[in-house]
């Protein structure tokens, strides 16, 4: 079972003059939990957006579940479920309606929708809230709903872009337990990013450290610690990426938007 489910080859993404992702290559094996770690602005989310067909790369090739992300978009999209970094629910719909919407968009057979939605809502312990508008939910509940939604169409790969951001330790542990269980039971591949190093160390089989759009090191948590001669992953991470605080946030976001707005690609 050494089959690659994600293959990334010399991936480049430029926003105007800024190179967000610079010749990145890596593979993810089927059934693996793969973590993508890096400081703010390292290119994690941009890479995920390209893997999930939301952005088009400047050059390089991407294969997800054997399909090219540019040429076989629809097949790629059927293969994965995603929990985005920021919320992506319709606040004006109920939990059930959000799930139903997703099921229809992913061509889940009409007869199976109700059963699957109910089962997943029970799984994330939101069943008794299924007819509440999402805008009445707490951050943790929204997250759980998004995870349930991402699993609705039985994806082969689950992308989690900082899924535990802003959640309390209880919810975070719960969430990782779900993910691990799914990975073990269904053999689902998980691709995640996070800023919580212990989480990454605990849950993932392999970790890629990315900085300034380049991959610095790929290996298991143990290997990374051994390589950097450090005791925990956080120290290993800091040793590899340095201690300087990154200026990402709004400034580069704005330049991205400008680049998009004026079509300088």
């Amino acid at each position: 079972m050494e089959e690659n489910i994600i293959e990334v080859n010399k991936l480049v993404k430029k926003f105007g003059k800024i190179t967000a992702v610079d010749k990145v290559s890596f593979n993810v094996k089927k059934g693996e939990i793969f973590a993508f770690l890096g400081p703010n602005g390292a290119g994690k989310t941009t890479t995920i957006k390209m893997l999930t067909t939301l952005l088009h790369q400047s050059s390089g090739t991407l294969k997800v579940n054997g399909f090219d992300t540019l040429k076989e978009q629809s097949e790629v999209r059927k293969s994965f479920g995603i929990v985005f970094q920021d919320p992506s629910l319709d606040d004006e719909l109920t939990a059930y309606e959000n799930m139903e919407f997703h099921a229809v968009f992913y061509h889940v057979p009409q007869k199976e929708i109700k059963g699957r939605v109910e089962k997943l809502l029970k799984f994330v312990e939101l069943y008794d809230r299924k007819d509440f508008l999402v805008k009445t939910f707490s951050g943790g509940m929204k997250r759980r709903l998004e995870i349930a939604r991402a699993l609705l169409h039985h994806p082969k790969i689950l992308f989690l872009d900082e899924p535990t951001l802003g959640l309390d330790p209880q919810t975070r542990n719960h969430l990782w337990d779900y993910v691990k269980e799914l990975n073990r039971k269904e053999g689902m591949t998980v691709f995640l990013t996070t800023h919580y190093m212990e989480e990454a160390d605990k849950i993932s089989d392999r970790i890629a450290i990315i900085d300034h759009g380049k991959i610095i090191k790929v290996g298991s948590g143990k290997e990374l610690k051994k390589f950097t001669k450090t005791k925990n992953l956080e120290d290993a991470f800091l040793k590899l990426t340095g201690h300087i605080i990154r200026e990402e946030s709004s400034s580069s976001d704005t330049s991205r938007q400008h680049a998009r707005l004026w079509g300088r690609r």
Partner: protein
Amino acid sequence: MRTVYIMWIRQLKRYWRSKPRMFGSLAQPILFLVALGFGFGPIFQKAGGGNYIDFLAPGVIAMSILFTAVFTGIEVIWDRQFGFLKETLVAPVPRFKIMIGRTLGGATVATLQGIVVFLICLLIGFRPDNWTMLPLAIVFMFLIATLFTSMGTAIASRLNDMQAFPLIINFLIMPIFFLSGSLFPLDGLPGVIETIAKINPLSYGVDGLRYAFTGISHFNIWLDFGVVLIVALVINLIGTYMFSKIEI
């Protein structure tokens, strides 16, 4: 078909659930009807124009459709800001289907709004000349709604936030409304204004609507129908293209 349907029903649910928006959007047409209708009524009559409310009602109905349609089209920006747009764009569904569902939903909402305003016009004293023409009126309402929902979506596809919104309202939607023959007859206007009114698609929409209600029109009814239909299709195609180009 199911994807178009679920997108359509979503728009209707959102509309139905935002009661303040529903009632709020009725205030403007009522104000126009009461202030202009009763305010200018006597002058209009003295000038030989007949009953001003009868003239104004189709214009105000078109106005409420115009605004509701553009708003629902522009909701794409909200979807972008609240993240829901990503959920739809990452799904294995062709973008044009999302666009069709969205446009039909927005157009249905705007048409419903137009019908509500029509009922308010009846309360104020407006009487259609010929009730059997009501279906034609609704067809025109739906065409106007489709045209401007598509326009809203097309514009919103290029915007990242609501900052440009007042600009669109003041420099696009307001002129489209005021220079469309909604408020005054298009006969004997100064050349520039007449030319602008002639290239304004809403002029034909209002004219068709007025024909359906009162039997009087400035242009030919078939010209009205043809222009609104073709412009609606063209703008919808442009909107679909712009929507399909969105990257997040």
